[in-house]
């Protein structure tokens, strides 16, 4: 048996669309209970009962991250708080955070999608699953945790970091599956080597799950070679619960996106018109099975495409390609979503440096790094090296507190950073990266 829920995973497209229409109607009725959609639907005369074809989704309004921020925290909530049992939120120190509320049904539905995803990649209840990502508000921790438990494997909620302890856990308990961000696995492998161990010989590992960070197919293959097992791609975003939105099956060719739980559209980010299957555009998603906080036509800003054709695994849920970029300026480094505006906000508060900056994302010694170059103000420089060092540390710490990952800060001469003309490029991405999976908080 290769399916978690055969009756849902191999439905004919016609049957699947029938479920989508029913669930879309239900979702819209539920959404209308929230202050935001309630008012919007009244204004636009949207009546859920009139929906009887999936194409009618195109008549509905889009929802953006800005809408979520503008109506923070409760504007999208459809239920009284007593019915809500969990929230996940982004750090969002620049603006309002993005917060998603879940009721008991939502958490259960998410756990099931996550279990289905893991099962799809080949995880079974006989596995020992070590989840090496941060718990807490980051959805990759609890999202996987509930899915592993629902599937019935033995879960080790290891959390992120401390590679020596991770290796000890793996060896003591015979870990067979791990989930981690791809850049961390390179580091973990180095620690294996430093301890004189070989993961292929000294562990019982049989499968890897990777996500939450951009990586190329080549990086995936390298990780597979290091650990001697297959690595499966995971995709999700916190607005759509987190992980468990789309997942690779044994064929590793695209990620099945669960269409009974999400309505999927790919649109041209400029015209917002749908593009044909196979063409790249922005992924737009509608929740179909969420009660506490349904989202309608949410613009993910992730650029991908629908892979045309059937998958040999027999699942009829369509596959999306790796995320190849963003339609805004957000980037992901070490699993953290970062907007250049956040970095700018930090720098503006430091009088010793100018407002010009350049962010370079690069792979240094096998690890992805964010390098932030800032100009020291001419008049502030007094020849004191210790003072410059102190400033470097101060900027490093403040950026880390803001974006939750430590940058490499470089002070440069005034005037050496190309001056911005209008909306200049502030970010150079030298990681030859195609993005995949960004379910960071």
């Amino acid at each position: 048996m290769i399916y978690w829920e055969k009756e849902l995973e191999v439905l004919s497209r016609k049957e699947l669309e029938k479920i989508q229409v029913e669930r879309l109607r239900k979702t819209l009725s539920q959404a209308a209970h929230s202050p935001y959609y309630g008012e919007l639907f009244r204004k636009l005369h949207i009546t859920p009962e009139k929906i009887d074809r999936v194409e009618q989704i195109r008549e509905l309004p889009f929802t953006t991250k800005q809408d979520l921020r503008d109506h923070y925290p409760y504007g999208f909530l459809t239920l009284p708080k007593r019915d809500i049992i969990r929230l996940h939120s982004s750090s969002g120190t620049t603006g309002n955070p993005t917060v998603i509320f879940h009721n008991r049904h939502d958490i259960s539905s998410w756990a099931n999608l996550m279990a289905r995803s893991l099962f799809c990649a080949g995880v079974r209840d006989t596995d020992v699953f070590q989840n090496i990502v941060g718990y807490g508000l980051f959805t990759g921790g609890l999202g996987f945790q509930y899915g592993i438990e629902r599937l019935g494997a033995l879960s080790i909620p290891a959390g992120a970091g401390n590679s020596q302890r991770q290796i000890k856990l793996m060896r003591d308990y015979g870990t067979t599956v791990i989930h981690a961000i791809p850049s961390y696995l390179g580091r973990l492998y180095e620690v294996f080597q430093a301890e004189g161990l070989d993961p292929q010989r000294d562990t019982e590992l049989r499968l890897l799950v990777i996500g939450a960070e951009p990586h190329t197919e080549e990086q995936r293959r390298r990780i597979e070679e290091m650990f001697g097992v297959k690595a499966f791609n995971s995709f999700g975003l916190s607005e759509m619960n987190g992980p468990g939105v789309a997942f690779e099956c044994e064929y590793q060719s695209g990620l099945h996106i669960w269409e009974d739980a999400y309505m999927v559209e790919i649109v041209d980010p400029q015209t917002l018109h749908p593009v044909a299957d196979g063409e790249y555009g922005e992924l737009v998603m509608t929740t179909l099975d969420r009660e506490g906080m349904p989202l309608v036509r949410y613009r993910t800003r992730d650029i991908t495409r629908i892979l045309p054709g059937d998958c040999p695994c027999g699942r009829t849920h369509r596959r999306i390609d790796r995320i190849t970029g963003r339609s805004d300026d957000m980037f992901i480094i070490k699993g953290c979503n970062v907007y250049p505006m956040q970095i700018e906000g930090v720098l503006l508060k430091i009088p010793e440096v100018g407002a010009d900056y350049l962010i370079t994302l690069d792979t240094l010694n096998g690890s992805d790094e964010m390098i932030v170059e800032v100009e020291v103000k001419r008049d502030w420089f007094n020849g004191d090296v210790a003072r410059l060092d102190k400033l470097t540390r101060q900027i490093t710490n403040q950026i880390r507190d803001e974006v939750l990952t430590k940058p490499i800060v470089r002070l440069v001469e005034p005037g050496s950073i190309p001056k911005s003309e209008g909306k200049a490029v502030r970010v150079r991405d030298l990681r030859a990266a195609l993005k995949a999976g960004n379910y960071s908080a």
């Binding site: 020849g383 004191d384 090296v385 210790a386 410059l388 440069v412 001469e413 005034p414 005037g415």
Partner: protein, 142 residues
């Protein structure tokens, strides 16, 4: 004597030091001594030049971050043990140094460039110990 040292902020980028020396050379400014304090990402070039004001002016004209810093120039005998003798006196009097560097004037004389945390205290200590400094060798000159 107290002199004005010229400090220049430099990125770790090939050719920057060359540019500074070229600019000073073109302006007819001789560099008597220099040292570079560097970290992995940037460096600070420190120079003793005959005309620091002019050096600052030409470098600023070329958009460099330049500052002058007060340092002490101490002539000392160019022979083994004279630097040790100087440092011994300074440390006995609790004078803390941020950095120092030195250059030889000729076979007989070397110049020590000293940047103490408290320049007035350091000068006072040196003046007070003038005799001890001079007894160590032939011609300490402050």
């Amino acid at each position: 004597m107290i002199a004005k040292q010229v400090s220049v902020f430099l990125e770790n980028k090939s050719g920057r030091l060359n540019e500074v020396t070229q600019i000073l050379g073109d302006a007819g400014i001789n560099i008597s001594a220099f040292s570079i304090a560097d970290t992995s990402d940037f460096g600070v070039l420190r120079m003793i030049v005959p005309d620091p004001e002019k050096a600052v002016e030409v470098l600023r004209d070329h958009d460099f971050s330049v500052q002058t810093t007060r340092v002490i120039l101490l002539n000392s005998p160019n022979q083994p043990g004279s630097l040790a003798a100087t440092l011994k006196i300074l440390s006995a009097e609790n004078v803390f140094l941020e950095y120092l560097y030195a250059f030889s004037m000729n076979e007989n004389t070397a110049v020590i460039v000293i940047r103490p945390t408290d320049i007035d205290k350091c000068m006072e200590v040196i003046n007070r110990n003038r005799e001890a400094l001079e007894s160590g060798g032939s011609h300490f000159q402050i």
